[in-house]
Amino acid sequence: MRDKTLLELSRALAAKEFSCLELTQAYLKQIETRNPILNAFISVTKELALETASAADTRRAKGEALPLLGIPISHKDILCTQGVKTTCGSKILHNFIAPYSATVVKRFEQAGMILLGKTNLDEFAMGSSNENSFYGPVKNPWDMERVPGGSSGGSAVAVAARMTPAATGTDTGGSIRQPAALTNTTGLKPTYGRVSRFGLVAFASSLDQAGPITATAEDAALLMNVMAGFDEKDSTSVDIPVPDYTQDLSKALKGKVIGIPKIFFKDLEPTMALRIEAVISAYQKMGAVVKDIDLPNVSFSVPVYYVIAPAECSSNLARYDGVRFGYRAKAPKDLYDLYTRTRAEGFGPEVKRRIMIGTYVLSSGYYDAYYLKAQKVRQLIRQDFQKAFETVDIILGPTTPTPAFKLGDKIQDPISMYLSDIYTIAVNLAGLPAISIPAGFIGHLPVGVQMIANYFKEDRLLNFAHQYQQVTDWHKKRPKETS
């Protein structure tokens, strides 16, 4: 039963093939077996899960018919869950139990889904390999010596290794799409403002967005039906109607125009290019038309991001001071010592680097040259995409430059790590929605294809992704359960 999609699980529960409790037990058992090796979960909420699963069985028996009622889910450990630890992968929040739940978490509770646990991540979602977690790296189930990507690596691996049927992730520069690509899962980053950020612990507020990581595009659509929507508690939440994301999944793609940014293929490894070209031909067979496009300023994306994201991070992470919650340094000699030592002992190396860079680019004398300049280039990047979407329905390219790299390969060299998000970052700067879906394998390692759509066109992304998954079975491949 663990291999079923959400829709299949929903139907099986309705047909009483098994109970919510049996289903939840099956996933908990898989977590017990696989998590000690893969390290995808920071917390497992076993008792809570069993209790809510039994309650879901009672509700189903009484005739409640919510489609996802009694189906398990796991949340990235950066979404606040009332009563359950939320660590953000950091020592500084090792004991933090949020006094409230994120809107996203509440929405899944209201949909009747069962929380299995909180998934591992790079500390405060800063990283592309999951090696920056205080709770240890997550292993890629396709190759234990390789990273699963990050920062939502725990969520992606939990789905890939069938420890959970679906999970939430968050994406600030590629943190849903890159791990999805490296683990053969489907990951959607919604339009900025589509999903509430209330209770999502802030890293870079103008870039962060939560989204689903699932086995299929259809599953992602089902989760989006729950997650998306206006929230008055998030001042950047957008108040426009939410479509039924499953509605357009089967729409034909004949005549749709796919834009191919030449820049994404310029230095691409031939083996990766082959995979992406195979996806393009599959769409052409479905009647889609391909058009080359220019995104002249996208080459500035990574440097622009590493000004803007650290600037916002340095401001957001100022709140961790050892006074109101979380870790506090022992025996501080004065207030300054309390602040500086709590933060030095509580944060890991990458978070500290980003706080320092952010502080530097915002400091007196440097603001115009870095932060203001980066905001202007960000505008140019948005304009490039807007121009492209005047003539194309979707933009397609690789999600990552390479398949999963080895643990330890990039951790000592921050810039080489930053460049692993070269294809995903521009999307966050512009605030657009994008999806990564399985696109085949290079050797034994999965790779992903990324599609980008115009603002609030998640339904179009899901339509394209679902259509590809109707004619291919890459997304059905599962890693072998080796130790």
Partner: protein
């Protein structure tokens, strides 16, 4: 970036950096700053800065209480409290 600059930034960021860690920070931060300096070559004359993807004004809401006093709940997770106050090392001698 030299040692003095690293020290100044770490002070502004309220991050203690030991003398031993200074060389590594100096190298890594300099490399990152050098890397992001590429943006200087972008032609941005007449371009307005983009602070945010959503350009809507802040919403107004009814001037009424939505959540009551939750001090106890919030302070229950604090490292050190007394009589409803957060405790920190003595500030005024």
């Amino acid at each position: 970036m030299d040692d003095a600059e690293v020290k100044k930034i770490s002070d502004l960021a309220r991050l203690a950096v030991s003398e031993n860690d200074l060389p590594l920070y100096r190298t890594q931060l300099s490399n990152i700053v050098h890397f992001v300096e590429k943006i200087a070559s972008a032609e941005t004359g007449g371009i307005s800065p983009m602070a945010h993807p959503v350009s809507s004004a802040l919403r107004m809401r009814e001037d009424c209480i939505t959540e009551g006093d939750e001090r106890e709940r919030f302070q229950s997770i604090a490292p050190s409290v007394e009589a409803g106050f957060y405790l920190v090392p003595q500030v005024i001698p």
